[in-house]
């Protein structure tokens, strides 16, 4: 302890510990609070902290995803969900508290029990670092030509898992379509005229700054999304994060200019199609590989002469598929939540 405190490892450990304490504090606060609005904000903070922590743990890609999901779109979607329910959580039965506490304690005890035999943090000889992980680090360059090992693993080595995850996202979107609906297309004619006149009248209002800034921001966000998409091979990022970012830009548009305007720009039918299309693009790459004589998602077949070019090409298309589905499903959820009338209101409680 003495004197060695400022060696790098220990210094980072301090940062890790502080973030961990913050996470625990925020977590407990979320459990204890009843005000759903405060909980939404706290969960936003939770993901900010965890993303920062992930960076300090050197898990940049995870932090990137956490940032894209937790900070922006998740908050908006949770607010959308809140619109459909009440402001405050209903009190739970005490018996449930105890049951939950027992389960949580048992789970924690099992995890603590396991920690004794866990490899120490960062141990280069531990199984995850020494075995397949090391193999990935060695092989990614020659096999795929992609500098970012994480991208190579996600989109190529374990590309089939990513295909599955994309399908999970589509399934979630499908669930929203089936249970909540998309709220139909934009309420056109009359309403849009009304919107225009309203827009004209409110020019003088103080929202004008916001609107102008947003109009500036939206293209920047989209360009940034494109950067994340295509830079994914080199740095953190990829189709999933890019999809979230692009969806966020449309959410921002909807927040400022109204859901009808957003639906005119990006109609629900298009979004529905997009959700399906992304998975089809991803699977389509696999099917093409099949037709070219390889196994499913065997990108080498795309360019047999230069397998690494084939890999790069395949990863690019696959990431586009992910982008399309993710962005579409996020909008499906946003449309589904926001264009639905609440079943219950505060007065019901």
């Amino acid at each position: 302890m003495n004197g060695e405190f400022l060696t790098p490892i220990d210094a980072f450990t301090v940062i890790d510990l502080v973030f961990m304490m913050m996470l625990v504090t925020v977590g407990i606060a979320i459990v204890r609070l009843k005000d759903l609005f405060a909980i939404v904000m706290l969960s936003g903070v939770y993901s900010l902290v965890s993303a920062a922590w992930f960076v300090s743990l050197d898990a940049v890609d995870v932090a990137f995803t956490e940032a894209a999901v937790g900070a922006g779109i998740a908050t908006v979607l949770m607010l959308g969900a809140m619109l459909l329910t009440a402001r405050k959580a209903a009190p739970a039965k005490p018996a449930r508290h105890w049951a939950a506490l027992i389960i949580v304690c048992a789970t924690g005890a099992a995890l603590l029990y396991a920690t004794v035999d866990m490899p120490s943090f960062g141990d280069p000889l531990s199984a995850p670092n020494a075995y397949v992980g090391l193999e990935y680090l060695k092989q990614t360059g020659p096999d795929t030509g992609v500098p970012n090992v994480v991208s190579a693993i996600l989109a190529s080595y374990r590309g089939y898992d990513t295909f599955g995850e994309t399908t999970v996202i589509l399934t979630a979107g499908l669930g929203v379509i089936l249970i909540l609906g998309l709220g139909g297309p934009a309420r056109r004619k009359k309403k849009s005229v009304a919107a225009k006149t309203a827009a004209g009248k409110s020019l003088s209002s103080h929202h004008v700054v916001l609107r102008v800034v947003s109009k500036l921001m939206i293209p920047i966000i989209i360009v940034y999304g494109a950067y994340v998409q295509f830079h994914g091979d080199f740095g953190p990022g990829g189709g999933f994060q890019a999809g979230l970012i692009i969806a966020s830009s449309i959410v921002l548009y909807a927040l400022i200019f109204g859901i009808d305007a957003a639906k005119e720009a990006v109609p629900p039918s298009l979004v529905r199609l997009g959700a399906a299309l992304g998975v089809l693009i991803y699977g389509g790459v696999g099917v093409i590989n099949l037709l070219l004589g390889g196994n499913f998602l065997s990108y080498n077949t795309l360019n047999p002469a230069h397998p690494t070019h084939g890999q790069e090409l395949g990863i690019m298309f696959v990431e586009i598929g992910v982008l399309v589905t993710v962005a579409s499903v996020m909008l499906i959820i946003f449309y589904g939540f926001t264009s639905r009338q609440p079943d219950i209101s505060d007065k019901d409680w």
């Binding site: 789970t107 099992a110 995890l111 029990y113 396991a114 004794v116 035999d117 866990m118 490899p119 531990s126 199984a127 995850p128 670092n129 020494a130 075995y131 397949v132 992980g133 193999e135 990935y136 092989q139 190529s156 080595y157 374990r158 590309g159 089939y160 898992d161 295909f163 599955g164 995850e165 399908t167 999970v168 589509l170 399934t171 979630a172 499908l174 669930g175 379509i177 089936l178 249970i179 529905r272 199609l273 959700a275 399906a276 299309l277 998975v279 089809l280 699977g283 696999g286 099917v287 099949l290 004589g293 390889g294 196994n295 499913f296 998602l297 065997s298 990108y299 080498n300």
Partner: protein, 515 residues
């Protein structure tokens, strides 16, 4: 299995198709989901789903042929060799499940059209079939894969689509929404436990490929991380399997979901989760380690017995037909878990055989109820009155499946119980055999009550709808039901297919020489 049985149809087919059948088996229904969503017309989407499900079943048959010929099949995605990439590994154990799920998928879809047209809003029908195909995909994907994390991914596909499908019963009965929500909460906890378990396993072994995990565990030995992983995985999958104290989601979920969903899930979903449990407890973790033996014998077996007895009693007291069958399902899962907890080849083989038969008979029972519900709005036991005369064919098929549930000889259900008792006696677990018998006797009562009401009580003089006339069940729905009833008799007479597969599967797990 005998190689001389290998069907020569493999030689007629293009080699390419045979080689890719493992991938196509899952990828075809997966891609058909989004396409069905785009088709956006109910009947069109249904036709499409039927075509794909038939093709999927054909792929399962091709794979079966390969398994018969080679014993096992491996398919590497992206042509990446196992520890790096994801592989599908098909052996007798998952072949049984694949055949079952693919077959039930076809039957359920044929069965489903009339009820879907009735129960689901027209604008949602295409999306409904898309969700159905994704559910099928997820179940197939869990069963076929040889990669531990891939199990999780496909488990999620099947779970999320299942939540959605169950919630679609909300148009008939709003309670479907709470049932679905309840399942969602518990299912998510289960999935989380499962993924924690996988994470711990990765921590201990550094690999995700199941066969490789086993190999690493053999080198690495047993430690606390592995034990914790075992416990997390069993509990996580236990929630999905509706293992006894974790089954609370199941009765409502089955009772309020759309009829076709109830029939499909009852015959496949818990079975696939149970398969995953068998695969992990005996196939991935080293069988015979003191910890896993203790866990199976001291934790799983009592739970299984409790499920068999307590849930059979609960089934006795149900008035809602689908809940009755759902509780009976939990009890029957107890049989399967009991066979697993024996940890012997005979026990596992018996429980897989019971799994197969139970899928056939429970699917048939739910389909029968669906037909009755479609024609007469039957929900309660007393609503069955007089149906023996008004719908003779459907009622007879329902009755056969019911007898099979009891385990009467001349029906397939008999074999599962027969071999379970044999396995229990061989292990010296006379108390387990007793529990099986008690539960079977209870089954006589709850099945008997349904059949008696159906055949012996006169039809009520209903307002408007007269039950006097013989009602025509929708033919499309009736055919799968009758097929299942016939299968229930056929697999008594000639149980060599399921029994052979179950034996070969148990052989895979216990490694008793080449299959």
């Amino acid at each position: 299995m005998n190689a001389s049985f290998a069907p020569d149809f493999l030689t007629w087919l293009p080699a390419w198709l045979v080689m890719q059948s493992a991938a196509l088996l899952v990828v075809m229904p997966l891609l058909s989901g989004p396409i069905a969503l785009v088709l956006s017309r109910g009947r069109l989407a249904w036709t499409w789903a039927i075509i794909i499900s038939l093709a999927t079943f054909a792929m399962a048959l091709i794979l079966y042929g390969q398994v018969l010929e080679h014993g096992s099949v491996e398919y590497a995605f992206g042509d990446w060799a196992p520890p790096l990439g994801i592989t599908y590994n098909i052996d007798a154990l998952n072949m049984l499940i694949l055949l079952l799920v693919a077959g039930m998928g076809v039957l359920s879809l044929f069965y489903g059209l009339p009820s879907v047209l009735r129960e689901i809003a027209p604008k949602d029908q295409a999306a409904f079939f898309a969700a159905f195909m994704l559910c099928l995909t997820g179940l197939l994907g869990v069963a076929i894969t040889g990669d531990a994390f891939n199990v999780f991914v496909f488990l999620e596909i099947s779970s999320i689509s299942t939540y959605v499908l169950i919630a679609m019963g909300g148009r008939q009965d709003r309670r479907a929404l709470t049932a679905s929500f309840h399942y969602l909460i518990l299912g998510t906890i289960g999935a989380t436990f499962f993924v924690i378990g996988i994470g711990l396993l990765y921590m201990a072994t550094g690999t995700l490929n199941m066969a490789d995990i086993t190999a690493q565990l053999r080198l690495h030995g047993d430690d606390r991380v592995v034990r914790a992983a075992f416990a997390f995985i069993v509990i996580g999958l236990g929630l999905k399997t509706a293992m006894f104290p974790l089954h609370t989601w199941l009765p409502n979920a089955y009772a309020y979901s759309p009829t076709v969903v109830g029939a499909f899930l009852a015959s496949t979903a818990t079975k696939v989760a149970f398969y995953a449990m068998v695969r992990f407890t005996l196939g991935v973790f080293l069988p015979g380690s003191p910890f896993s033996d203790a866990f199976l014998g001291l934790v799983l077996a009592p739970m299984a017995v409790a499920a068999m007895v307590i849930c059979s009693v609960q089934a006795l007291y149900q008035t809602d037909l689908r809940k009755l069958l759902a509780y009976s399902s939990v009890a029957q899962l107890g049989y399967m878990l009991l066979g697993l907890s024996m940890g012997t080849m005979a026990g596992v083989s018996a429980s897989l055989l019971h799994l197969f038969n139970h899928a056939l008979l429970k699917g048939g029972l739910f389909m029968g109820l669906g037909i009755f519900a479609l024609s007469f709005g039957v929900r309660q036991v007393q609503d069955l009155r007089g149906l023996g005369k008004t719908m003779p064919v459907a009622a007879a098929a329902f009755a056969i499946c019911g007898l099979s549930l009891i385990g009467v000889p001349l029906t397939a259900g008999f074999w599962g119980k027969y071999f379970l008792i044999t396995a229990a006696l061989e292990k010296g677990w006379w108390w387990a055999a007793t529990a099986i018998l008690i539960s079977s006797v209870l089954a006589i009562f709850y099945v008997g009550r349904m059949l008696e009401t159906m055949y012996l009580q006169p039809a009520p003089k209903t307002k408007g709808r007269s039950k006097k006339i013989t009602a025509k069940a929708p033919l499309l729905a009736l055919i799968p039901l009758v097929l299942l009833a016939v299968a229930n008799v056929w697999f008594f007479v000639d149980a060599s297919l399921p029994k052979g597969l179950a034996d070969a599967a148990a052989n895979v797990l216990f490694g008793g020489g080449a299959p």
